[in-house]
Amino acid sequence: MRRTLIITLILFTLYISAGLETMIGGRKSITDAFYVTTVGLDKAKDKIKLTIVTQSLGPEEETEYTKKQDKYFVTEGKTIFEANRFFTTFMDNKIFWGHVDYILISESLVKNGLDTYLDFFMRDHETRLIAELFIVKEYSAEESIKLVIDSGEDITNTLHVLKEDVGKLSVSGCVPVYEAFSTITDENCGSNVPLLQIIEDEKEETDSTDAKEASVAEDNPKSKRLVLDGYALLDPESSELVGFLTGNDARGFNFAINKIKSGVIVVEDPEGEDVTLEIIKSKTKIIPKFNGDKLEVTFKTKLSTNIAEIDGSTNLFTDENIELLIKQQNEMVKKEVKNAIDFALKHNIDIFPISKVVERKFPVKWDKIKDDWRKIFTEITFNVEVDSQIDRTYSIKEPVLSREDG
């Protein structure tokens, strides 16, 4: 009996103390929480402007289905945390950081280094490290969020679609917070963060024509829209913004770091008509080699493509013609990768990162050279080798325009 009494006593005391909110302040009701899904960081003079997007349920309609609706709020503060606290002054709900999916950072902010802003997201116990980072070019993060939301769309969803489709063209990538953090902390390799651009529809760019990237209503011709194109590259030591790789250069970078999922290569047939190839598989090996003290690095890319569209009427399926296509395709890929390498050499940052490969391959030698890696990096001779093949075509073999007798 004594034991039961003790149990009841413990339970009772615990239960009584439930009322003592001062003791146990951990309870928060789920209905009071505002889920932050996207965060924007901007620079405002010497302060930080914090934009948060929360998802809440829209006003109840007559139907059962209530649409999710994005709302955004903006505050300023000396640090992110302070700005975050200012929300409490005008919002009746509790802001909850546990479901942050995307973090947008404006270009101007990254100019002074990214590492200072990542700390908040790493330290807070609510946030998850799988949130994706994006840098917004030219515009501020707030503007880009505003742009999407004002047009009646869902920013988080838009970013989600952009992220999902990034492999279609392979001109950008995804970098979660923890990955950015581990490259930033490595003093030898530069970090890359995907780049968000706002483009106006009128001056259409060639490499962003994919219909799915359009996130703004189509019947508004002058509207701006958000595209995910290229990378912002950061300095290894200070994590300051160094430059951008966009369009096909970014794809070259993706070739080099093995992040190609798919993509389009347009080449010409012997008569000068366009032949479109679709990348279906690509694998790059970075092979470092020591020639004495000199380092030689070879990028060996293996590529296979499909013929997706033939605009001319020549029969391409001869050994000779296929060779021709492959040659062109090799050259294009080679050029793209070279461009990325040139960029790296120009800014002297190891973006690939070759340092990791060398470390894995020559751990002993790496130990000696790691301190002056940046100097060594400029002296590396780079070779790019592309070995590609065209695998298949689709349902028809002959081009539509071909005649029976040529």
Binding site: R3, L14, A18, I24, S29, I30, Y35, L57, F96, D101
Partner: protein, 504 residues
């Protein structure tokens, strides 16, 4: 037929003495004694038999317990019509003749002890009292109405045997004997209950069951001081170790095959006269997750299903508390999509989630209770009123959120899959305790509750056997049949000798 209405104070006193002190009465062996003891009992029949006009003997029996036809045909008829008797002049001769076997009855006893006579009389014996010799002959004329063996009502079985225990002890023991034709099957009998004088039988298989266990059980049964054994808990509460627990410590079954297989595992069975449910001890937690059907199905299927049963018990225990914890303390642990739908369902509901959970959990139990108590003719109303009207209305009126309904209902249904209903009820009680704890301090409170539960189980012992066996405290042996049902082929190897070795 004679009934005596005059009851002496002395008799009354003697009667209370018998009840209270279990004392032997000191009465002469004559019909007046019986008349006094059974003064107001109209079912007790006193018959005066005139043999040879001069000699009168008295026959006493209890109508309903004794078989009247037998009494008439084999006692009254010979006494009055047989030539041997009609010529008898004195009682001495009569005794000789009866002893000589002229009243051809299987078991005839001669006694001058009123206590014995009364005791047997209440078991259906006819007592023939000789006035002058002050002795009585006891004829075994037992024969009362009893329920025939029927299909089990609570433990249905698909491929197993379909017979079930009945209220009559002797029928039950006969059923055991029919299934286990071995002299090693021991069926001991004790009489428990000062007033009811119920027969309680202890059965075990000699050589397999632990002798010490049998001995200590026998001692515990003998120590029982109670007036009646009309309900099983009277015995159960006396033989278990831990009184303060909602968890069952004795396994009940109405199926002789389950009973016998338990005996073969070295356990001990108790059958109480008048109760069609038998008890098996010692039990541990695994026994409440097994059904007899497990042994008549494919072993792979059964092993998986058993695993699922444990999982579902865990679900029943934890899920509502976990839901309360994450929705009111650890929001970061809810996936985003789920969080939004939870919020949308919680909108407008006035109560905190844990109160909803507790209310609903009790409501489910209410439905069960109502279903069990309601007259069967309107039984369908419970589900109708409960589920349709109250459930639907509560949600549409924003009393309770659908999310909580889903969680608590899932837990309740998982709870119903536990084969042993006593265990299921105990799990339900702990479910509520866990909800309370997690409403105080979230996940931490829930884990504290789980620790307390594990501790509660760990310190429980049934007849010296740990309740958590074979998961704990068995040195890893004897655990083959806990979750995975092993093949009988494998089981055979550790036949009876092995078993007895383990149980020693």
């Amino acid at each position: 037929m004679i009934t005596l209405s005059k009851v002496g104070d002395e008799m009354k006193k003697i009667r209370t003495d018998i009840i209270n002190l279990n004392k032997k009465v000191d009465l002469p062996m004559e019909v007046e004694s019986f008349k006094g003891l059974f003064a107001n009992s109209h079912d007790c029949v006193f018959t005066e038999v005139m043999i040879n006009k001069e000699l009168t003997v008295h026959l006493v029996f209890v109508d309903g317990l004794a078989n009247c036809t037998n009494v008439m045909d084999f006692i009254l008829k010979p006494l009055t019509t047989l030539e041997k008797f009609t010529n008898i002049k004195d009682e001495k001769k009569l005794i000789d003749v009866i002893k000589g076997g002229s009243l051809y009855y299987i078991s005839v006893k001669e006694t001058n002890d009123v206590n014995l006579a009364v005791e047997l009389l209440l078991m259906g014996t006819a007592v023939l009292i000789l006035k002058e010799a002050k002795i009585a002959f006891l004829f075994e004329t037992r024969g009362f109405e009893s329920r025939s063996i029927q299909v089990p009502t609570e433990e249905t079985s698909l491929k197993g045997s379909k017979d079930a225990f009945v209220e009559t002890l002797r029928t039950n023991t006969a059923m055991l004997r029919r299934k286990m034709r071995t002299p090693d099957l021991v069926i001991e009998e004790l009489i428990v209950g000062k007033v009811s004088k119920t027969k309680v039988s202890v059965s075990y298989i000699d050589g397999i069951a632990n002798d010490q266990l049998v001995k200590s059980l026998r001692e515990r049964l003998k120590k029982i001081e109670t007036d009646q054994v009309l309900f099983t808990t009277v015995i159960e509460e006396e033989i278990i170790d831990s009184q303060y627990t909602p968890f069952p410590q004795v396994e009940y079954t109405e199926k002789p095959d389950k009973f016998c297989s338990a005996l073969l595992e070295g356990r001990i069975g108790i059958i109480i006269d008048g109760i069609p449910f038998t008890m098996i001890i010692p039990t541990s937690i695994v026994n409440f997750f097994q059904t007899t059907d497990d042994y008549s199905h494919n072993y792979i299927v059964v092993s998986i299903i058993r695993g699922i049963r444990y999982l579902l018990a865990a679900v029943a225990l934890i899920v509502p508390a976990f839901y309360v914890a994450i929705t009111s303390f650890h929001l970061e642990m809810i996936p985003e999509g789920l969080a939004l739908s939870v919020i949308s369902t919680e909108k407008g509901v006035p109560f905190p989630i844990f109160i909803e959970c507790i209310l609903l959990s009790i409501a489910f139990q209410t439905l069960i209770e109502a279903g069990a108590r309601i007259w069967s003719s309107i039984g369908g109303m419970v589900s109708l009123v409960g589920a349709l009207i109250v459930g639907e209305a509560a949600i549409t009126a924003n009393f309770i959120s659908p999310g909580v309904v889903v969680v608590v209902a899932a837990a309740a249904i998982a709870n119903y899959t536990i084969p042993n209903k006593d265990f299921a009820f105990a799990i339900w009680i702990w479910e509520i305790i866990l909800i309370l704890l997690s409403s105080v301090i979230g996940l931490y409170g829930m884990v504290i509750g789980i620790i307390l539960l594990i501790h509660h189980w760990a310190q429980m012992e049934v007849m010296g056997e740990p309740y958590l066996a074979p998961f704990a405290a068995t040195d890893g042996r004897n655990s083959k049949d806990a979750i995975i049902r092993s093949l009988f082929v494998f089981k055979k190897k550790e036949s009876l000798d092995e078993q007895s070795k383990i149980n020693e």
